[in-house]
C-alpha cells in the first residue's frame, strides 16, 4: 500500500549524474572540499533517515496487517492484558532508544562536518570582496598591492586548488551567496560583514544564484564561479587589471563616444575612460564574461543588443532603463563593448 522503499531509491537515482547533464549547480556533485564534506554528511544522514522511514512504515504495515477487523459496534478493549502492554512498552522503549542513538550519530556527524568546514586551510588565498545589490553582484579582487586591485561583476574566476575567501556585504537588502557545487550558502546582510571560504578542486563553470528573496529580480541574480588552472587564472587576473584599450575600429570608436556621451556612463564604469560610476556592473572587461545581465543571457552580440535596447522586457523591474538608440548606434555601442575583453 505505501511505496515505502521507492522514495529513497528514487532519490538516489535521480541524483545520479547520468540523469542530469547540468552538473554545474548540484549540491550532490561537489567540486570542492566544502561541498564534499556536506555531501558526505548528507549521504550518511539520508541513509539513516531512509532506514528509519522504512522501519516505521514496516512496523505500521505489520500492525495493520496483524490486527483483526472491527466495526463501530465492536466493544472496545478497555483493559488490555498487562503482560502484552508491558511487552509492547519494551518494544517502544527499544525503538526509541535506537532513534536516540541515531539522532546522536547525526548530531556528531553534523558537528564534525561543521568543524571540517571551518578548518579549510587558508594559506595563499584569493581575497574577493563581494557586495550584493538588487540584482547583481559587485566583486572586488583584493590585493595587498593597491594597484593590483580590480573590479568585476557577476562572474568570479578562481584558481583551482587555492582557497578563496569571500567577504560579503550588502548594499541594500539581504541576499545570499550560494554556489551549490562548491559550498553551502552565506547571507549578505546589510550592516554586517560575513565571510565564506571555499576551494574549487576541479576546473569548471559553477553556477550560483542569490538564495535570499530580494525583490523583483531575485529569480535572475545569478553568479558564475569559473575555476581555472592557476596559470590561466593568473593570465585572466592580469587581463582584468588592464584598463580598456582605445578601439581601432571606427564603428567601435563611435560606439565608445556614444557610451560616454549617453546614458550608459551615468551608471557603468570602464577603466581607462572617464566613465567611473559604480551604480551598475563594471563593464571594463564585459566581453570576457560568459553571461550578461547577472547570468540571465549568454554573452552574444545579439543578446547584448537586445538587453541594451529593452532590459525591462528581459528582466522586468531591473534598475536598467530602456535605451533610445537608433539601430546603427546600438550596433556601434555593441561593437565597442565587444572590444572590452
Amino acid at each position: 500500500m505505501k511505496a515505502h522503499a521507492i522514495a529513497p531509491a528514487l532519490l538516489a537515482a535521480l541524483a545520479s549524474p547520468v540523469a542530469w547533464p547540468q552538473a554545474a549547480h548540484d549540491a550532490l556533485q561537489p567540486a570542492g572540499p566544502q561541498a564534499a564534506h556536506i555531501a558526505s554528511l548528507w549521504w550518511l544522514a539520508v541513509a539513516i533517515c531512509a532506514v528509519v522511514f522504512v522501519a516505521i512504515l514496516a512496523a505500521l504495515a505489520w500492525a495493520l496487517w496483524r490486527a483483526p477487523r472491527a466495526q463501530a459496534s465492536t466493544p472496545p478493549e478497555i483493559s488490555p492484558p498487562p503482560a502484552a502492554e508491558r511487552r509492547h512498552a519494551r518494544g517502544v522503549a527499544i525503538a526509541l532508544g535506537v532513534c536516540i542513538v541515531l539522532l546522536v550519530v547525526i548530531l556528531v556527524g553534523s558537528i564534525s562536518t561543521d568543524r571540517a568546514l571551518a578548518s579549510l586551510p587558508l594559506q595563499d588565498a584569493v581575497h574577493i570582496d563581494l557586495t550584493g545589490h538588487q540584482w547583481w553582484w559587485e566583486a572586488t579582487y583584493d590585493d595587498p598591492q593597491p594597484d593590483r586591485i580590480f573590479h568585476t561583476a557577476n562572474e568570479l574566476h578562481v584558481p583551482v586548488g587555492r582557497p578563496v575567501i569571500v567577504t560579503l556585504h550588502s548594499d541594500d537588502v539581504i541576499h545570499s551567496f550560494w554556489v551549490p557545487s562548491l559550498d553551502g550558502k552565506k547571507d549578505l546582510i546589510p550592516g554586517r560583514t560575513a565571510q565564506i571560504e571555499f576551494r574549487a578542486d576541479r576546473p569548471g563553470d559553477y553556477r550560483g544564484q542569490c538564495a535570499e528573496y530580494c525583490g523583483l529580480q531575485h529569480a535572475f541574480m545569478a553568479l558564475d564561479v569559473i575555476a581555472m588552472p592557476p596559470g590561466e587564472y593568473a593570465a585572466w587576473a592580469e587581463a582584468q587589471r588592464r584598463p580598456a584599450a582605445d578601439p581601432a575600429d571606427p564603428q567601435a570608436r563611435r560606439g565608445r563616444d556614444l557610451f560616454l556621451s549617453g546614458t550608459c556612463m551615468m551608471c557603468h564604469a570602464i577603466l581607462g575612460t572617464t566613465a567611473s560610476a559604480r551604480s551598475a556592473p563594471d563593464l571594463t572587461h564585459v566581453a570576457s564574461r560568459a553571461r550578461i545581465a547577472a547570468g540571465r543571457l549568454a554573452n552574444t552580440p545579439e543578446n547584448l543588443a537586445a538587453w541594451i535596447h529593452d532590459p525591462q522586457a528581459i528582466k522586468p523591474g531591473a534598475n536598467m532603463p530602456a535605451n533610445l538608440l537608433a539601430p546603427d548606434d546600438l550596433h556601434a555601442v555593441v561593437a565597442y563593448l565587444e572590444t572590452l575583453r
Partner: protein
C-alpha cells in the same frame, strides 16, 4: 431584519443589497490603487541621434558629444506612484545629485527642500531644469538620463519639500540619514521666485 417585512420582500432587499455591494466592490477593485502602480515598460520614444540638443549651459557630465534627443511625453509624470518616487530617490543617489544639493539642504547647488524654487516647482519646470540645465552650474542631463527616469527624479525632488501626496513619498532611509523621512515632512509651499525663467 425584523419580521415586519414579509419574507419575499426581505429576500429581494437582501439580493439587491448584495448586488449593489458587488458592483461597488468591483469598481473599487478595478480602480486599483495608484499608489501601488509599478510600470516596468516605459516604451521609449525613438530619437533622432544626430540632432543637436537644446541646452542652456555648456556643462555636461562626462565627455561632450552628440546626445540623444528626447521629447517630453505628456502624461508620463506620476507623483502618486510610490514606486516611481522611490526610484527617483534611488537615482538621486546614483547620479550624485547630492554632490551639489546634499540631501536636500543644498551646498553648491540650492536647497531642494525649502520654499524657494528659482525656476518653478511644478513638474514641467523641474523636468526642464534637469533636462536643459540652468545658468550658474546646473548641468543639462538631456541625453544622459532617460526621460522616464527624469520624471522619477522630478517626483522625488518635489517630495523633498512635501509637495506630493504623503502616501507616495518615501519613508525612512536605510543608513545614516539626516533629514526626517520625506513622508513626514511638512509641505513647504513654494514662494514666488525672483527669476521668472522656465515654468
Amino acid at each position: 431584519m425584523s419580521s415586519r417585512f414579509p419574507s419575499r420582500a426581505r429576500h429581494r432587499l437582501r439580493a439587491h443589497g448584495a448586488a449593489w455591494l458587488c458592483v461597488a466592490l468591483a469598481l473599487v477593485f478595478a480602480a486599483g490603487c495608484e499608489r501601488e502602480t509599478r510600470r516596468f515598460d516605459p516604451k521609449p520614444v525613438p530619437s533622432d541621434l544626430r540632432t543637436q540638443p537644446q541646452s542652456l549651459p555648456d556643462l555636461q557630465p562626462g565627455q561632450p558629444g552628440p546626445g540623444m534627443r528626447e521629447t517630453a511625453s505628456a502624461g508620463r509624470y506620476d507623483e502618486k506612484s510610490a514606486y516611481e518616487v522611490a526610484q527617483g530617490k534611488m537615482l538621486f543617489r546614483w547620479y550624485n545629485c547630492s554632490g551639489c544639493h546634499a540631501q536636500g539642504g543644498g551646498n553648491m547647488g540650492p536647497a531642494l527642500m525649502d520654499t524657494t524654487w528659482i525656476y518653478g516647482s511644478d513638474p514641467d519646470s523641474v523636468f526642464s531644469t534637469i533636462m536643459d540645465g540652468r545658468p550658474r552650474g546646473m548641468p543639462s542631463f538631456r541625453g544622459r538620463i532617460p526621460e522616464a527616469q527624469v520624471w522619477e527624479l522630478v517626483a522625488y525632488v518635489r517630495s523633498m519639500s512635501g509637495l506630493i501626496p504623503n502616501e507616495a513619498a518615501p519613508n525612512r532611509d536605510e543608513g545614516l540619514g539626516g533629514a526626517p523621512p520625506e513622508s513626514m515632512r511638512k509641505p513647504q509651499p513654494p514662494k514666488d521666485s525672483d527669476a521668472k525663467v522656465g515654468g
